[in-house]
Structures are given as C-alpha cells and as structure tokens.
Symmetry: C2
Subunit: 311 residues, 2 copies
C-alpha cells in the first residue's frame, strides 16, 4: 500500500516534536496504523534546532503546502486564529485531510471547518487539541460510544494546575508562582488564556461537543479564572479537607448542556485532587460505564506529538 504523505505546517515546539516522533517511531506507527506514514514536506517560517530536516522538502509558504497535490494530510501546528483558519480551509478545499492541535481554532471556527470538511468528504482530526497526549477525544467518541455521557469534569490547563499545585504545596502567592511558570516556559508572556480559563473553556467546548454530539458553542461557557485565589483560600480549603482545582465542567441537564470553567473545591481523597503539577486529567461519567478517568501530560512537544495524528 502507498505510504500516507504528510505535510507539517509549523515547526515550533509541537511541530518539531511531531516531526521527531514520526521519524523515530516510523516502524511502530506503520505496524499499528497498517500503513506507513511519510513526511513529504515541511512549511515553517524557521528551522527548529531540535529537528534534523536535511533531505526533506522545506518551504516557508504554508498555503502552497496546503495546495500541494502530493500531500494527503496537512498537519496544522502554527497556532492562532486567522492564518491557521485560512490554512485549514485551503487544505480542505483541496481535498486534504487535516490534523490540528489548535483548540482555539476548533472551539471558535470548528462548526465552519467541519461543515466544509463534511462537504469535501475529508477528516479533520484534533485529538492533540485537548489534553495533549491523553487520547481523551478517542476515549469519549469511541471508547465510551455505548454510553450516554452524563457529565465530565477535568483539569485541562497544565499551567493553571502547576500554579494551584505550587500554591498548595508551598503556600506561595499566585503572582509569585505565575512569574516562575513564565520563566520555566509553562506560561505565556500574556498568561490571560491560561489563568483566566479561556484555554480551558476552548477545550471544554470541544469535549462537550464530542460527548453530547452538539455543535461547538464556546460563547456559552461560563469562564472564571484563578487569578483572584489567595494563599488563604488554599489553606482554608486544606483545613476543611478539600483542594482547590481549576476545573472545566460540562453537564447534560434537562435545560440543555451546561459549560463552566471555575475554581472548584474537591475532596482531598479523590483522584482529581491528586493530579498535580502540569498534569491533566478528565473524569467522565457515562450511564453504562459509571465513572472513568484519563490522566497524562496535557502539553509539551512529544506528548502532544504522540496524539497529533489520531482521528
């Protein structure tokens, strides 16, 4: 069988990790996928020193890659809204399957993108957009397919969880830990998306859409961040036997689907309360299975690369 030809757009942290995993684990991936997967071209504004791209077609024109008749699958790892949206729509227009790790793009423009993909009969895969390396989209869509999902609740922003963990374990203040997270590269220079819950709301929107079979409705989410939490809040919670976690929660109610992101008190002895540092975890309740939980790294080059190609 002919190999599947992949074009990687964006060679930053996730793009570089994806390239490296694809090359390193080519045999393993071919064995499991039943077909070999080949990097046919890379489009990026710059090289990545962690990647040896010699011998590969390299361009800085992502739109040209999206139109390239030799490419079967376009992998969008450039991030942001506008260029990413144009890239994905162009790829679909040219009959290519698309893989993206861009949760903001899917949460905000997903309905339009899926409609176009449906018309062209191509697949848009976005497993890596939610919770990095945890195969949570697949678990909900396929693994729990026999279930009606009642609710789900998760720690789906690693930066926020790192901050909450440090505040609890070391009694530190929010701003102090945020500055460290920025220095370590866990948090962006503008941390709004992470600490005000917007990134978590993007991911929650995507999870709910899959879980309940509904359109993406990012604007319906109640979104509250963690920036007002004080060391005293954390300490009082601890004294009462609880921990404060920044959760994304979605619930199937008679009035419709509830979407909310906010700091939540949860009992110390639960698994979610013990998910620490930058790790993510999602608890899903299905009518047949009961509660299941999926845990793993929610970010990082190789964890995200591990999930990028799942449909």
């Amino acid at each position: 069988m002919k190999p599947v030809k992949v074009g990687i757009c964006g060679l930053g942290t996730v793009g570089g990790g994806t390239f490296n995993v694809l090359i390193r684990n080519a045999d393993e991936i071919a064995r499991r996928a039943g077909r070999s997967i080949e990097v046919a071209a890379i489009a990026s504004r710059r090289e990545n020193s962690a990647c040896d791209t010699s011998g590969f077609t390299f361009t800085n024109d992502v739109m040209a890659l999206a139109r390239d008749p030799d490419i079967d699958i376009v992998v969008e790892l450039i991030g942001g809204y506008e260029v990413a949206r144009e890239l994905v729509m162009t790829a679909i227009e040219h009959g290519k399957h698309v893989v993206t790790a861009n949760k903001a793009l899917i949460a905000v423009h997903g309905n339009e993108i899926f409609a176009a993909a449906n018309e062209k009969n191509v697949v848009v895969a976005f497993e890596a957009a939610v919770a990095g390396g945890i195969p949570i989209i697949k678990a909900i869509r396929e693994g729990l397919a026999a279930n009606k999902i009642n609710w789900l609740a998760g720690i789906i922003n690693g930066t926020g969880n790192f901050i909450m963990t440090e505040m609890r374990e070391k009694g530190r203040a929010f701003n102090d830990v945020l500055a460290e997270a920025q220095a370590l590269g866990y948090a962006e220079a503008d941390p709004t998306f992470d600490v005000e819950g917007i990134d978590a709301a993007h991911k929650l929107t995507i999870l709910a859409s899959i879980a309940y079979g509904i359109p993406l409705q990012f604007d319906k989410s109640y979104t509250e961040g963690i920036s007002k939490i004080t060391p005293e809040d954390v300490q009082y919670a601890e004294e009462l036997g609880y921990r404060i976690k920044h959760l994304g929660i979605s619930r199937h109610t008679e009035q419709g689907i509830e979407l909310r992101v906010h700091p939540t008190l949860i009992p110390k002895s639960t698994l979610l309360a013990n998910v620490n540092g930058v790790m993510n975890a999602i608890l899903v309740s299905g009518d047949a299975v009961g509660q299941t939980l999926y845990y793993g790294p929610g970010a990082g080059a190789e964890p995200t690369a591990s999930a990028w190609w799942l449909i």
Copy 2:
C-alpha cells in the same frame, strides 16, 4: 445502510447488561458507530430476569447461533475455556466477527483464535476482556499508537483491590474480607483466579501482547497472589509511606518482555495508590507521551457491556 446483526451468546451478568445497554442506547450507539446495531438472536441456557427478551429470537443452542447466516457478529459471553473456544472457532469458521469478554480464553487460546480470524479475514474484539469499562485496549493500540511502550503497571483485578483496600482502611484480615467479598458477589466461590493473580496474569498477557506487538504468552508470567498478606504487612507499609497494591507489571527490557503479577509497595501519594475498592487503573509509559493513566470500573454488568463491542 443495513443494520449490523448481533447474536448474544450467554445472558448472565455481562450478557444481560450488554443486551440492556444495546437496547436502551440504540440511538446513541448508531449515531457514534455510523450504523445501527440490532440484536438478532440470543442464545443462553436460561433467561435473565433483568432483561425483557420478548419479541427476540431466543435459543439454547449457542453453536446454532454461531452458524446462523443472518448473524454478522457473535458476542461470546458464556465464559470458561472449552465451550467458549468451540463457539468462537465455529463463528470464525462461518465468517463472523467475534466479540468476547473472556480474558482466560484470549490469554490461553488467543494465538490460535487470531490466526483463524486472520485467515477468514474477520475481527476478534476483546476490549471488555481487560479492565471492564475502561477502554484500555483501544487506548494502547490506537491512542498511544505513535509511542514505543516502555512499561505498564496496573490494578487489573477488582476483587483483589477490594480486599487490599478493606485490609488497609479497616485493619481487617485477608480471610475475613474475602468472605465478605464472596457474600457481596465480588469474589467467586473458588477465589483462586482472583486472589492468586491468575485473572490478573490473563489480563496482563493480553495488555502486553497489544502494547509490544508480541504473541500471547500467558505461561511466561510470574504470578503471585495476595493470600499471604497480613494486616501487619499492610500496617508496616503504611508507616513507611507506602501502600500494598496487587499489580500486573510488564516491562520492555533488552532481554525481552517481562510479565509479572505480585503485591507491590507503592508510595501513598501516587495515583495508583489511591485507586480503591473494586476500581481498576492502568498506568502506561510511552516514549513520546510519558505516563498516562486510565481508571474506571473493572467489572460489573453495564461497565463491561459499555466496552463489549469495541474493536
């Protein structure tokens, strides 16, 4: 598209749960599977009072069902080795796909069964055979497909975990808790499979086969149970900051694949140490993703039914 016609063999706990979930969530399943799934016949020695089978074809001849030209998929939920093996081989011989929750059958006769299925170009699915409702086979085979699996370690016997949890939380003796588990229906009258690690070794054999792409090799597993653990062992572990869990562990080493089931000391603060009661959890380490964990109910009618049909 024509509905997929399913024949259910065995209407005990899992068979009854499977029947009920298939009927109750028919619309949800059709939406997710892209095709409706219809119970065409049931073969069982007796009725199950939890199931309303009026209007369904009911027989007590499982082999006739396995040969029935109207059936696309045979669901083997009768358990045990010999009749189940004959049933599955007959179904394959007649070109039917097979779904089974029978870990003993797969661990011991799986190589022969898969070879026959391969020759007839049919699928043998066994998601429900390991860790009940947790979609762990799918997670390893598909969700982590980009990874080389380094090792996995799991609590994969709910009865054993219930016993270890009770011993720790209440300081009770092994025999005392076992008697309660038998009264509650968590443990069989002959508890050997559960408490001596044989059931866990069956499941570990299956997980390792999927994780490393190797044949099933149940006879290679080192298998040690929990029946010799005393309340003092549990208490000493606690004092040292550990908990004793009965784990199935598999590791990819330079000398080959290691398979072992035995009581293990693990630090109190880890997630595995906090998996209590009859719940199961499997920690999987992949070279790209790092560590991920999958948690949920490892047994029971509906949890197992939730997973039965996954391929």
